[in-house]
């Protein structure tokens, strides 16, 4: 008896699968182009990272290449160029986190305090624009302004001051990097903070003002707590991508400041793999970067949960 009822249940399940297929087949067809794109340009390449554990050469197929375990990673950490790239990456990431991260928040506060809607819209239009320019354009524009023969040095020269090597000095390169990122993305980064500010209940401010709280106290007790979840969320996401400091930005300025200064993990992977032909080393560098980034996100999220924040996903219900 039980076996026959199980059989009917199974049959019913199969029937429901078949009926769902009949109902949803067109939706499944619609998933094919996107699914194919994901497969070809995301999931298969992800599996391709296996060459980091192989001694891959272009005349092998990936299936034929001999496995060498973690040998490539050991080699990686013995390579002074990799260690240099790692050190540079961490330095630039730290500069970005400390100097760039607060800028969109401050900018959002300034814009939020602009009382004229028309001025506010005009200002927003201006500062969002650079986000849509390519890195090539941004670097080209910076070069025209700050380069050795650029506009600023043109003015300095007229005033009898020697040209300042803004674009080629290795010492100030981290600051230049932050300045470029700020020019390109500080405005755009503000959007999400403006949304957070707009979501704060205005009546809170009004009641606080009526109760005698001044500007500073309202900012401290209402604005800041209102923005905190968004700030924490973005901080965690930033930590996760901290090792991706911007491939295009660095490779474009490599000639100007020298390879030693502009070498970061991504450019190392490119020059070792694509240019140098050591594909396995390049892939190992990329993979090491990805793993560290993932660990950073998970740790930061854990810390956020312990501090009672939501983080990327909601923690334990409280």
């Amino acid at each position: 008896m039980t076996s026959s009822s199980e059989a009917t249940a199974r049959r019913r399940r199969r029937n429901s699968l078949r009926s769902r297929l009949r109902r949803d087949w067109q939706m499944l067809v619609l998933m094919i182009p996107g699914g194919l794109a994901l497969l070809l340009f995301f999931y298969i390449p992800i599996l391709g990272n296996v060459i980091a554990f192989q001694d891959y050469q272009p005349y092998y197929t990936i299936a034929e290449a001999p496995f060498v375990g973690f040998e490539k990673f050991v080699e990686l950490f013995e390579d002074p160029r990799f260690l240099l790239a790692l050190r540079n990456t961490l330095v630039y990431a730290a500069f970005q986190l400390v100097l760039f991260f607060p800028l969109p928040i401050l900018l959002a506060l300034v814009v939020d305090s602009m009382m004229s809607l028309r001025l506010r819209r005009a200002f927003q239009s201006i500062v969002y624009l650079p986000h849509f320019l390519s890195w090539v354009l941004v670097i080209a524009l910076f070069q025209q302004m700050l380069g050795g023969a650029g506009l600023i040095n043109q003015f300095l020269g007229r005033a009898g001051i020697d040209p300042v090597p803004f674009m080629t000095s290795a010492d100030t390169f981290p600051l230049l990097i932050v300045a470029e990122i700020a020019w390109k993305d500080a405005g755009w980064g503000m959007i999400i903070f403006l949304a957070a500010l707009a979501a704060i209940d205005q009546s809170l401010y009004e009641s606080a003002a009526v109760d005698g709280a001044g500007r500073v106290r309202r900012a401290w007790h209402i604005t800041l707590p209102g923005m905190r979840p968004v700030i924490v969320l973005l901080l965690i996401l930033n930590l996760g991508s901290i090792l991706t400091v911007g491939f295009e930005q660095f490779i474009l300025q490599r000639d100007a400041v020298g390879a030693d200064t502009a070498e970061v993990l991504d450019t190392y992977a490119y020059y070792t793999g694509v240019i140098g032909g050591d594909w396995s080393m390049g892939a190992a560098a990329g993979l090491a970067k990805g793993v560290v980034g993932t660990i950073l996100i998970l740790v930061a999220n854990k810390v956020a949960h312990m501090l009672g924040e939501d983080g990327i996903y909601r923690g334990r219900p409280q």
């Binding site: 070809l40 009382m115 302004m145 043109q154 959007i191 403006l194 000639d255 793999g273 594909w279």
Partner: protein
């Protein structure tokens, strides 16, 4: 949220529907009738102040500091573009006199543009960029719309697919495996290597899907009861209602394809297949000079303005579509999706 009426604009706005970056209109101060002449003049330039009654006016030093910050930032964004455009129109004489860059061309000429459009190298690069932008955007919209619609309702396998897409937001396969994949597909030195890897972006998918999910189910269900298939519903009901989101996602894709540089550097060796960003890198950032041969004409415009004209040609399409893009920021299409 409460709904407040703004007497000056005569519009009723509800706080919940308000796009981000603008807060619900504040009740105006009753003193507007007694505005000074100064205030009224300022108002026609900058629009009316939206300061609520309870908020104190900023102190003078604070207001001045804020004004300086706002003006400085605006100039920092606009001046470089202005200088580049001006210099591209300037005559050689004026450039020599100024020492390289010109703020306003006194004697504007189109010579630099005539030169670069006559150059087979630049002209071809523009052709490549236009091709990958147009074809890439159309293809990407097709792929993204199909996927977003399929996952906008609970369907078989939908959850797995959604998870598979969300993962792409947090990870990248890495540069070397991507290169090997493109090579394996035989796309090296083909314009398709600049198009195909970019036809599906997780972020754009999420924007699109959350818009589709906001379409009232009554509409689609009614069509279904009348016997319309899913394809039919997508074509005749969902798409006509989604013009705004299709426009904004399309513009996002278009900007991405126009700006593509990294892929070109990786996958394209053949100079005749370079997109405009590669030309820009080579001739402006690296300072390789365009030879008369590559230009295809006797170089008559000053080299500096030719360089700047190349910058302008890469910049202009973005600035031209920017107003259309920008229209949708204020509608909250994008931030709505981020929040949801």
């Amino acid at each position: 949220m409460s709904t407040s009426t703004d007497p000056r604009h005569g519009a009723v706005r509800s706080g919940a529907a308000e796009p981000p970056g603008e807060r619900p209109a504040r009740p105006s101060a009753a003193t507007s009738r007694r505005q000074s002449l100064h205030r009224r003049l300022w108002g026609t330039v900058a629009g009316h102040s939206e300061r609520p009654a309870w908020m104190e006016a900023p102190s003078r030093p604070l207001a001045i500091a804020k004004g300086i910050v706002i003006v400085t930032i605006s100039l920092a964004v606009l001046v470089p573009m202005l200088v580049v455009v001006s210099t591209s129109f300037a005559s050689g004489e004026q450039i020599r006199e100024a020492g390289g860059y010109v703020l306003f061309p006194t004697d504007p000429s189109l010579e630099a543009y005539r030169t670069i459009f006559a150059s087979p190298l630049v002209f071809r690069a523009l052709g490549v960029s236009v091709f990958i932008t147009v074809v890439g955007t159309l293809l990407a919209l097709f792929v993204t719309i199909c996927m977003a619609y399929a996952l906008s309702r609970p369907v078989l396998g939908g959850k797995v697919m959604l998870m598979a897409i969300i993962l792409t937001l947090f990870f990248t396969p890495g540069l070397i495996p991507m290169f090997l994949m493109v090579k394996q597909l035989g796309l090296l030195d083909s314009v398709w290597s600049l198009i195909l890897p970019g036809v599906f972006a997780g972020f754009n998918f999420i924007v699109m899907r959350s818009f589709f999910m906001g379409i009232p189910t009554e509409l689609t269900e009614a069509a279904r009861i009348d016997g319309a298939s899913d394809f039919r519903i997508l074509r005749s009901i969902v798409l006509p209602l989604s013009k705004a989101v299709i426009a904004v996602v399309g513009l996002f894709y278009a900007v991405g394809f126009w700006n593509s540089f990294f892929n070109a550097m990786l996958y394209i060796n053949d100079q005749s297949l370079w997109p405009i960003q590669m030309i820009l890198r080579s001739y402006v950032i690296q300072g390789t000079s365009l030879t008369a041969d590559q230009l295809g004409v006797q170089q008559s415009a000053p080299p500096q303005s030719i360089k700047m004209a190349v910058v302008v040609v890469a910049l202009a399409p973005i600035v031209a579509i920017y107003p259309f893009l920008q229209k949708y920021f204020s509608k909250g299409v994008i931030t709505g999706a981020i929040k949801g």
